[in-house]
């Protein structure tokens, strides 16, 4: 045990038990689940078994409500395009939040350029999207509301059940991107009463390239990917049987340990936050109120550029993430941090530490020991740190 990998919200290592469960479907059980002979029928059985297990893992009422996809981005795209082309082919009103993952945000923005009306609800300063704020934007023409269950950069968990209730009152459908939540916190599509939800396997020690879209029974749908009509005409293309089996196995493993891991990881998360904020001035947790992912610490390190921090940590073997402009090549700091009102000059110094099953207390302590002098050194190298963050005109969030 022990790992300096602190970027589990980006991706995770495959669990060896997941790999083992998948292996037969690459080799001797390689059949196409749509073929009628024995090899195909065996593959179909494995696929349907995986569907049943994934459905149970997300709290769906029926296995048929699970559509296997290539991952979170495809699920998000399918949710928007396939629903809207059916229920509002001539256009209509859609609502999503300003801090969604790009897979939702850029899809919604594309639709806004092509005949749909888009409203972006702003999360509040505490990092959460409020049902009242969504409700204020809903109108009689609202067709789809999409709000993420938990935010991938800051870890805030939203009250999707209340937001779904507002959407349904107005006759709109409700989608949630639950990519970061599955396996980390209690999650059930039935309890939340959503119509659509997106998931991916690789965030919970499953394989990359496989995910799922939950599609509530009775929701009308015009498949985005046309072809041979697989997945009961909801997603064409020969199914990724090994991937589906891996996803199902990964969910079961994650759920078996979920509550004990949540307790352990939230203590580690707080150890990261407390360790850094007690040792350094001008460091703060981005989200301090309401529900948060147990494994994600989002920190604002004032007066330091995030990429510099990331590369210095990498030099010592630590992997973390930042919302700084320079790290992404996009040249703008994180849209998530800007959406909750973090000033740009502070957003450049954001740090995301996302913990996982191999991280120990010792790893966290080593990380803090490594990071404190890095921050001190970078601040000492800055021509403006004292001026911007230590005087009477200090910039704050």
């Amino acid at each position: 045990m022990g790992s300096r990998y602190f970027d589990h919200a980006a991706t995770t290592a495959m669990d060896p038990r997941v790999t083992q469960a998948m292996m037969p479907y690459f080799t001797e059980q390689f059949g196409n689940p749509n073929s009628l002979y024995t090899l195909g029928r065996d593959a179909a059985r494995a696929l349907e078994d995986a569907r049943t297990r994934v459905a149970a893992g997300i709290g769906a009422a029926q296995p048929a409500e699970v559509v296997f996809t290539s991952g979170g981005s495809e699920s998000d795209n399918e949710a928007f395009f396939s629903i809207l082309r059916k229920v509002a082919p001539e256009g209509g009103h859609i609502i999503t939040s300003a801090y969604e993952h790009d897979a939702v945000l850029n899809t919604a923005k594309w639709l806004a350029k092509h005949g749909y009306d888009l409203d972006l609800v702003r999360p509040r300063k505490d990092g959460h999207v409020y049902a009242d704020d969504v409700g204020a934007l809903i109108c009689k023409d609202t067709k789809l509301v999409s709000i993420m269950h938990s935010n991938n950069e800051i870890g805030a968990i939203n009250d999707i059940r209340s937001i779904a209730a507002r959407a349904h009152e107005a006759g709109a459908l409700m989608h949630t991107d639950a990519v970061q939540s599955l396996g980390k916190v209690p999650f059930s599509v039935v309890d939340l009463d959503v119509d659509l939800a997106s998931f991916t396997a690789h965030k919970l020690h499953g394989p990359k390239g496989v995910g799922a879209l939950y599609l509530k029974r009775g929701v009308r749908f015009d498949a985005l990917i046309k072809g041979g009509g697989q997945e009961t005409r909801r997603r064409s293309g020969t199914q990724n049987v090994a991937g589906a089996v891996g996803f199902a196995t990964a969910i079961e493993l994650a759920l078996a340990d979920r509550d004990s891991e949540a307790t352990r990881l939230s203590a580690l998360r707080d150890r990261v936050i407390d360790g850094l904020t007690s040792r350094l001035e001008n460091v703060q947790a981005t989200v301090t109120q309401g529900d948060r992912l147990p494994n994600l610490a989002s920190l604002l390190v004032k007066g330091v550029e995030g990429e510099s921090m990331l590369l210095q940590l990498d030099n010592l073997g630590f992997s973390v993430s930042t919302g700084s402009a320079c790290s992404s090549g996009s040249l703008e700091p994180s849209h998530v941090l800007l959406a909750i009102g973090v000033p740009q000059v502070i957003a450049h110094g954001s740090l995301r530490v996302s913990l996982g099953r191999d991280n120990t207390e010792q790893d966290v302590d080593d990380f803090i020991e490594a990071l404190v002098p890095i921050i001190e050194k970078l601040r000492a190298m800055s021509p403006v740190y004292t001026k911007m963050f230590c005087g009477p005109d200090a910039i704050t969030f």
């Binding site: 923005k109 594309w110 510099s308 590369l311 402009a325 450049h348 021509p383 403006v384």
Partner: protein, 153 residues
Amino acid sequence: MIYSEKVMDHFRNPRNVGKIEDADGEGEVGNPVCGDIMNITIAVDDADTITDCKFQTLGCGAAIATSSIVTELVKGRNIQDAVKLSKQDVADELDGLPAVKMHCSVLATDGLKVAIDDYLKKHGREPLSGEIKSADPNFDPHGEEESAEGEDD
């Protein structure tokens, strides 16, 4: 986006960090909103030769590396020669920079030019570089770049 070994070397072990006391010339360029600010100080002798150069930078790996190498490149050079240092020269000296980071090398050479002009003005002489856009705190260095990537529309 991958940095060259030389960029990483200058980033990990930056040369000439700090501020020259009673500098003959000082230049500060960049914009905290964009995330990069550089301060370059120079010492110049009577023959217009740069005898010392130091930097302070808030910014990414490329911003720190380009500042660092500029301080090395100009020491011992005449100001007439140093002012000709281009962003491409800086990038070449670092064995290349990712396209999205080229603006960092502009900032480093701009900081130097502002410092040289500051020195000249202090001595009642004509500046060599004229207006430096990045010396304006509201200048957006990213605005001049073109995206080579696909767009979603």
